[in-house]
């Protein structure tokens, strides 16, 4: 499976996700460049973000699984009017990505807005802020 690029930033993240006992494996794997989520052992459904219960069959026996970070842009926008805590980063693009494994996710896009187009391919990347990991989508060169 294709590895995730790891991008180090010298700044802290403006809004930090909370780490829980349940979701910690996701953030630890992300730091290593491994995109993971939960898959239901009973019905096989993978879901994103990871959940402690299967939204399809409500079974609570789930396993962590690596998923391909490769996908294409389903849609995107560039946010100019941002929440106060993100104003220093604006304008910034965000988008919806269809991953090759069949999941759809929404995340920050890491390229200049003028490069973006629906249908372009790229890879989900790990972004290491000074205060923790997050993820974004990087277009293929």
């Amino acid at each position: 499976m294709k590895r995730m690029p790891i991008i180090r930033l010298p700044t802290p993240q403006a809004y930090q996700p909370r780490v829980t006992r349940f979701n910690e494996p996701f953030w630890r794997a992300l730091e290593r460049g491994d995109l993971t989520t939960t898959r239901c052992v009973k019905c096989g459904e993978a879901t994103f973000p990871p959940k402690p219960i299967c939204p399809r069959c409500w079974a609570s026996h789930l396993e962590w699984t690596s998923i391909s970070p490769v996908g294409v842009i389903y849609s995107y926008t560039v946010v100019h009017a941002a929440p106060a805590i993100f104003e220093a980063e604006a304008p910034y693009p965000v988008g919806i990505i269809d991953l090759e494994g069949g999941l759809r996710i929404a995340l920050r896009l890491l390229d200049q807005p003028d490069r973006l187009k629906v249908g372009l391919a790229g890879t989900v990347a790990t972004v290491l802020y000074t205060n923790g990991p997050y993820f974004g989508f990087k277009l293929d060169e």
């Binding site: 993240q13 403006a14 809004y15 930090q16 996700p17 909370r18 979701n23 879901t47 994103f48 973000p49 389903y74 849609s75 995107y76 926008t77 560039v78 946010v79 100019h80 009017a81 941002a82 929440p83 106060a84 805590i85 993100f86 104003e87 980063e89 304008p91 910034y92 965000v94 988008g95 919806i96 269809d98 069949g102 999941l103 759809r104 996710i105 929404a106 995340l107 920050r108 807005p113 629906v118 249908g119 997050y134 974004g136």
Partner: protein, 397 residues
């Protein structure tokens, strides 16, 4: 035995900037403003205050200092109620849920007269500060909010996708804003009434690409009271009223983004709720004479009219640009001026839409009157139209 539900009055303050900054000597206080609106509405309805059996409020924003607002207001207005006194909340659908719950109080025989009402105060808080809160209403607060999504960024992604799939243009989106401004010019309750052009919309500053300032809603305050009653009471008043003809609702079990790829711009919840309402009323989309659509952005109006069968799939932008959804067109949409120009006091917008349809269906919409309007649809939503609530209203004598 269910009772038939009627709307017998609707009163509101003009949409605009009402909230005061803490530094101002005289403050705008929600309950003082709303009390006057309620008294006006009951006065217009011509029913005894003692007949008001239920009060369903839109929950005020966090900025409203008076908490437990509904029970406080029952005391402030001296209203003893045998039906429900409560606040409801459901994102953009909030006002629609207040209307729906008030209608159910009548339908179930728990109230003779029920009020759907509320106050929305937010404009003294800068948008960037307000968004520090609202960025957490869309998506998963830990997995999505850190990316910097804002509520309208989702509609912008609808716009990008719609342009990609159907070749729609910025000019077509802008036509919706221009049309809504033209409607608002005729509405004394509207926040923005000065005419604009397509060029004005396209040249206004980008907010969430491809949408610009005039494609997206302004910040707005408001206060409103809709008076609902049993149809027996409405008939006894001896003047035109509005009957609730049909209803449909649907939540697609998705919050903003579905992790299994779907057709995001089909607005499935609106389509399903619309079909359900049409079945409930024994009608079709073609029977609707006008519609008030909860559409914060121009693209949302286009996609919702398609999902509700008022325009054909993929044809909504062209239809809007061709004037089909304007006053005098085939199916006038948002004769109030819509969110962009009537204004968008978010917790109340569906109630302002109900007021517009009440005025239209009782022939008191003045210069923006849709001739011979008999059946009107209103739709509200939450998320990225992940849920929809549709009511069809009917003129009655």
């Amino acid at each position: 035995m269910f009772k038939s539900v009627a709307i017998i009055a609707a009163k509101a303050v003009p949409v605009g900037k009402i909230q005061t900054r803490p530094s101002e000597k005289y403050q705008s206080v929600e309950h003082e403003i709303l009390a006057g609106v309620v008294a006006n509405a009951i006065g217009e309805a011509g029913v005894e205050k003692a007949m008001v059996d239920a009060l369903i409020f839109s929950e005020p924003h966090v900025y409203t200092q008076q908490k437990y607002f509904s029970t406080f207001m029952a005391a402030y207005l001296g209203l003893a109620c045998r039906g429900a006194v409560m606040e409801v909340l459901g994102n953009g659908m909030t006002g629609g849920l207040a209307f729906d719950q008030a209608a159910d109080q009548i339908r179930l025989g728990r109230a003779r007269v029920a009020l759907a009402l509320g106050v929305n105060m937010e404009t003294a808080t800068p948008a960037s500060q307000h968004m520090n809160i609202t960025m957490r209403v869309t998506g998963d607060v830990d997995f999505h909010s850190p990316a910097g999504f804002t509520p309208i960024s989702w509609y912008a992604m609808d716009a990008t996708r719609y342009m990609h799939e159907y070749g729609a243009t910025r000019t077509q989106f802008a036509a919706v804003a221009v049309k809504n401004r033209r409607h608002a010019a005729l509405n004394p309750l509207a926040q923005f009434r000065k005419p604009i052009t397509v060029a004005d919309v396209i040249k206004s500053r980008p907010v969430v690409e491809p949408l610009t300032l005039l494609d997206v809603p302004p910040r707005s305050d408001g206060a409103i009271c809709i008076v609902l009653a049993t149809e027996d009471i409405a008939r006894g008043l001896g003047r035109p009223y509005v009957r609730l003809r049909a209803r449909g609702s649907f939540h697609e079990g998705v919050h903003q983004v579905c992790d299994r790829p779907n057709d995001m711009i089909a607005f499935n919840a609106a389509a399903t709720a619309g079909r359900s309402a049409y079945e409930d009323g024994g009608i079709t989309g073609a029977d609707i004479d006008l519609a008030e659509i909860y559409a914060p952005c121009t693209i949302v109006e286009i996609l919702a009219t398609e999902a509700l069968q008022l325009t054909a799939r993929g044809d909504g932008a062209r239809a809007a640009a061709a004037g089909e959804t304007a006053l005098g067109g085939r199916i006038p949409v948002n004769t109030s001026g819509g969110c962009q120009s009537r204004g968008h006091p978010a917790r109340l917008t569906p109630l302002y839409n109900a007021l517009e349809l009440f005025e239209q269906l009782t022939g008191r919409a003045g210069d923006r009157q849709v001739a011979d309007a008999e059946l009107a649809l209103m739709s509200c939503e939450l998320g990225n139209y992940n849920a929809a609530l549709v009511h069809v209203l009917e003129r009655a004598q």
